[in-house]
Amino acid sequence: MKKLLLASAVSLGAIMASGSAAYADCAIQNNIELSSLSAGFEAWKSVTDAMAECGNFTAELDQEFRTKQPAAFAADPSLYQIGGVANGTITPLLNEGTIRPLDDLVAAYGQDLSPNQLIRVDGQIMAIAMMVNTQHLMYRHDILDDLGLDVPTTWEEVIITAEAIREADVVQYPLGGTMKAGWNLAQDFNNMFLGYGGSFVNDDGTPNVNTDAGVNALEMMARLTEFMDPEYLVSDSTYVQQQFQQGTIAMANLWASRAAAMDNADESQVVGLVNTAAAPTATPGGAPATTLWWDGVVIAANITDEEAEAAFQVALEGMDAEMVAEHSDDAIWLIPGYEPNRFAEGAIATATASPAPQSYPSSTEMGLMHTALGNQLPAFFTGELSAEETLEAVEAEYLTAAEEAGVL
């Protein structure tokens, strides 16, 4: 019944799943034309498929959603009623006031939601979270067992373990890393920087990355790259996932949402061999060097109340216990009824660690900082600039951008 259209063959491709007319498995029957725009990973596919069972619903799953969403929701009426966001991408929607508070709708229909799912900003419920995501350690337990190695808990231990794996020469590269220039590389730095106790901006909005924490983070990352595929500056999450699946790497700090792919027998040669553990800490006794993310649903502001009501009900149908029971391997669900599997261990250990890692600090300043880091950090890894010079360039670009954006 479902028609999959490959909207674009480019790697930035969008996949649209057109709504089916089947009303099975949905408690309500939806009569209002609804559509959603969200990221394109497996969990969103499961959720939007479940929403489509209510009828009159079209889902657009697009990895470039972060670029499209602010403009699409600013239109009046909004081009989509339902949006899929993460803690990083909700900021422009909040800033522009294009999503509506959900308190009334939660009171009317949200009796099955757990309080943990309600994202509150300034006292108002602005989004309903469905899953948590984090970058944590994934490792080949067969290799570590064979070599008699413990699962590393700090990055120093990761280096010792990687050294031992390289000596044993059992895989091509001991480590993988999501260090593609741009967003990915900046995010890797963010994890390590927070792990070393850094904070990105001062209270007055001036940058604060050219510090010991910044230099330590860059130097640790540089030491790690010695154990990686030399093409690490083009390696994104999908590339690292494939390296695992093809058995070319033994360890990586990778997104929890990628774990299920390791047991996908169609793609993976390492079914059952990859385990997850808490993200390593940068300093002994510190918080895991990573950030916590959530993904969830928002409802557009520029639509009628009837549409919002229908959209909210359909969204809840997509995030119900039935869907979780069917797709429990796709994500670390926050939805009641979720039974964690083997892959969830790492994410849960990360989120419940003490001290716990921060949530990704989403703000206008952080958006500017993330871009500046993504643009300037490659110069350090290609050897053009030293760590201090690189961080100086990051701060300079941040200052220019912040002045231009009006926050300084």
């Binding site: 480019v10 972060r66 670029t67 602010p70 803690n87 900021t91 422009p92 909040l94 800033n95 522009e96 006031g97 309080p115 943990n116 799912q117 309600l118 994202i119 509150r120 900003v121 300034d122 979270a129 948590v132 593609k180 220039a181 590389l185 209270d203 595929d229 030399p230 093409e231 500056l233 083009v234 070319t248 959530w294 502001a301 670390i332 926050l334 994410a347 989120a351 419940t352 716990a356 949530s359 989403s362 703000s363 206008t364 958006g367 500017l368 993330h370 643009n375 490659p378 110069a379 890894f381 290609t382 053009e384 600039l385 300079a396 220019t400 951008a401 231009e404 954006a405 009006g406 926050v407």
Partner: protein
């Protein structure tokens, strides 16, 4: 031709050019001197986000734009003169690097890094495209009639492929353990990583662009070869001119207007190099001016776009193209006047 007929034919085209080229250009030009920013306020906000079992709530000072009564962001626009150009060019930092002969310091600035690559890319591919295009044209022209059709078809194929798709396919052949990297590793016996350093990526980009554009030069030159005066060529043969002499003294001068034409088109296209950067995801090592403009316009996760810097960078790119084209345009103009 009567003026009215002339105007009727040319009018629609001029109208569209004004609407879609001149007007946006004027708009970009103006925007590069203005800065439009949201009016922001700092407010203390409590945000609650899920942990795995319980929520964590944090109170922090957030910078957020002020909304007017219609729910739109209040923006203010002011004239900033050349500030955006300064932000792109970073003249002080660039001058400090130049005066201390610190090339790597200069190339650490995005604009100059992009300019360096864009110029190298344009100036290296230009002679290669002309040379390879002419070589294919001569080869096809001298091939037996029966094979010409298929040879022309095969030579044109790279030109038909969508640029981004072509770049991506070359990337996939070489990235990681792509089949061609494997092949090179097999023959050389060493571990090769084509995407680990800038110069190998640049070579792949140059190769890709020449492979993609040479067919265009070939088609033009091949058409030109059909109009070479056979009497002159035969006379040259009788005079004992070698193949090289015939090529250099008869065919190349005959094709010269076409060579200038292809060079003009190629300079304009190559200076706007963009698909290669995206296709090869080379931004860690090399970026181009066009990519820089795109990067300024790309919103970050918080929805910020650097429109003013993007406008300035776009204007600088256009100025660059005009500067590159001046020698060729002057030559065409002189030839044009000479034939009158």
């Amino acid at each position: 031709m009567k003026f009215r007929t002339f105007a009727a034919f040319v009018g629609p085209s001029i109208f569209l050019m004004l609407l879609f080229i001149a007007a946006p250009l004027v708009s970009v030009f103006t925007q590069s001197f203005y800065l439009s920013q949201p009016v922001v306020e700092s407010v203390e906000v409590e945000t609650c986000t899920p942990g795995f079992l319980t929520q964590t709530c944090t109170t922090e000072v957030r910078t957020q734009p002020i909304l007017d009564e219609n729910g739109r962001i209040v923006r203010e626009t002011r004239f900033v003169g050349l500030q955006s150009y300064r932000n792109v060019l970073e003249p002080e930092r660039a001058w400090a690097a130049i005066s201390s002969f610190d090339i790597s310091g200069l190339l650490a600035i995005d604009f100059w890094k992009a300019l360096r690559f864009t110029l190298t890319f344009t100036l290296i591919t230009l002679p290669l495209v002309l040379g390879v295009g002419l070589a294919i044209a001569l080869a096809v022209n001298n091939a037996a009639k029966s094979v010409r059709g298929p040879v022309i078809f095969v030579s044109l194929l790279p030109f038909i492929i969508t640029p981004v798709i072509g770049a991506l396919s070359i990337r996939w052949l070489f990235v990681g353990d792509g089949i061609l990297t494997r092949l090179m590793e097999y023959y050389s016996g060493t571990d090769i990583a084509m995407f680990a350093q800038g110069w190998t990526i640049e070579i792949l980009m140059l190769f890709y662009r020449v492979w993609h554009v040479a067919p265009f030069a070939f088609v033009i030159f091949y058409a030109g070869l059909q109009t070479v005066n056979t009497d002159t060529v035969e006379a040259a043969i009788i005079d004992g001119a070698s193949r090289w002499q015939r090529l250099w003294y008869i065919i190349v001068p005959h094709l010269m207007p076409l060579i200038v034409f292809v060079a003009l088109i190629h300079l304009m296209d190559a200076y706007r190099v963009f698909e290669e950067i995206v296709g090869f995801s080379s931004q860690a090592h090399v970026i181009s001016l066009q990519w820089l403009t795109y990067d300024f316009l790309q919103p970050d996760d918080s929805g910020n776009r650097a429109v003013s810097r993007a406008s300035a960078s776009a204007m600088l790119t256009m100025i660059g193209i005009v500067v590159l084209l001046i020698p060729l345009l002057r030559k065409t103009w002189r030839d044009h006047r000479g034939t009158r």
